[in-house]
Symmetry: C2
Subunit: 229 residues, 2 copies
């Protein structure tokens, strides 16, 4: 069964790709990457291609889309240069400035359109809810609603979104990735920098805490490595 995997290039999507690879044959994998005007777009795209190379996904099964509208619309520190990327505050349950309004619906819509045309019946997305930044479009209920939308809004009706790591902590994601041989060294998570990860944005903080709790070193270079554990 063919599958479309959303691969941003971060650790979550990398482990999700590893899980998709375990559940599907290599030749069934289709990798999708979306540039949406985020600050670290170039570095993430490199990570996408490196991970696709690692899993042997050829060019004709990679789709790279560039959408300008999320940065046209703004409202997030990831897409609007006038809003600074805030320092991580893992104890604060609010929605951080990095929230891109309704972002995942754009990604999933592209994935569903592609799946309908290429005949894929599964879409994998590395959404994480338990140990995350609190984005509303990472909740399990959101994906249940999206699956209902697909059932009603496609010609075939039987495509399903899978969120295999949604209930895992970052430490569990690191562990799962290690078990499956996921190429963490090829990934990129930092919201702020493209060469050496900052270590203090939300995404770096969650990642570093995950590796720390899992008790393994993160292979990426960091400007600073605070302890978040």
């Amino acid at each position: 069964m063919k599958a479309v995997v959303l691969v941003s290039g971060g650790m979550d999507s990398c482990v999700t790709a590893a899980i998709a690879r375990k559940e599907h044959e290599a030749e069934e994998l289709h990798f999708l990457h979306v540039n949406y005007g985020q600050r670290t777009e170039k570095r993430e795209l490199k990570a996408f291609h490196d991970i696709a190379d690692f899993y042997g996904v050829p060019a004709e099964r990679r789709l790279v889309c560039s959408i300008a509208h999320l940065s046209q619309i703004g409202g997030s520190s990831l897409t609007d240069p006038s809003i600074p990327v805030s320092e991580a505050d893992l104890d604060n349950p609010g929605i951080p400035t990095s929230y891109v309004p309704f972002r995942n619906a754009h990604f999933l819509s592209i994935a569903v359109s592609w799946a309908e045309v290429c005949g894929a019946k599964r879409i994998y997305i590395g959404a994480v809810y338990e140990d995350s930044s609190g984005y509303p479009d990472c909740r399990p209920e959101y994906y249940a609603a999206f699956n209902e939308l697909i059932r009603l809004g496609t010609a075939c009706g039987d495509i399903r979104v899978e969120t295999p790591i949604i209930g895992l902590t970052k430490a569990q994601i690191v562990q799962r990735g290690l078990e499956l041989g996921a190429p963490f060294h090829l990934t990129w998570s930092c919201y702020r920098n493209e060469e050496v990860a900052c270590g203090t944005c939300d995404s770096c903080a969650l990642r570093l805490r995950g590796f720390e709790v899992a008790g393994v070193p993160d292979p990426l270079p960091y400007v600073v490595r605070p302890h978040y554990g």
Copy 2:
């Protein structure tokens, strides 16, 4: 209350804009147009701006997005030049070649992101189900599911999609537009041509039948005007 109106430039979105104008103040209206690589993109964009001018929507409340991925993905006669636009067959209940896989989810996602940033609480879309081409993403249940998705997937949770003409026939849409003074002469519906409407594609056929049944002349020029009534 601010509202985002999806304005493709066709008669359905024009009447929907007229309804939105009736329900909101002129200065609350935000008009959104999406170019997605469809054949008649240029002509539709002109119709969008003409209708926006008609309703006094200034540049800062118009958003025009161009998305390349629907034509990258293909699968529709509207976005893939190798698939011909089929002749209308209004008695055949199948999904025509003009179906663009999961298209409306892309449009609505952009509308929701914009609404979240500009503070709009209503999104108007001119989806028509009863008297339509049978696209799955025009069903009322699809919009109910989308509203659930918005409730779960946005920070604010209280944006709602309105489909004021979904249950109307094309003739009723023409009537409603006439009552509200909708500028039909500024619209464009043909899937095939950009100067003189073909008169025989699905979209022309549905439109011509609507005007015919309503008993009023369609102000647009047509290559041929078959009777579909």
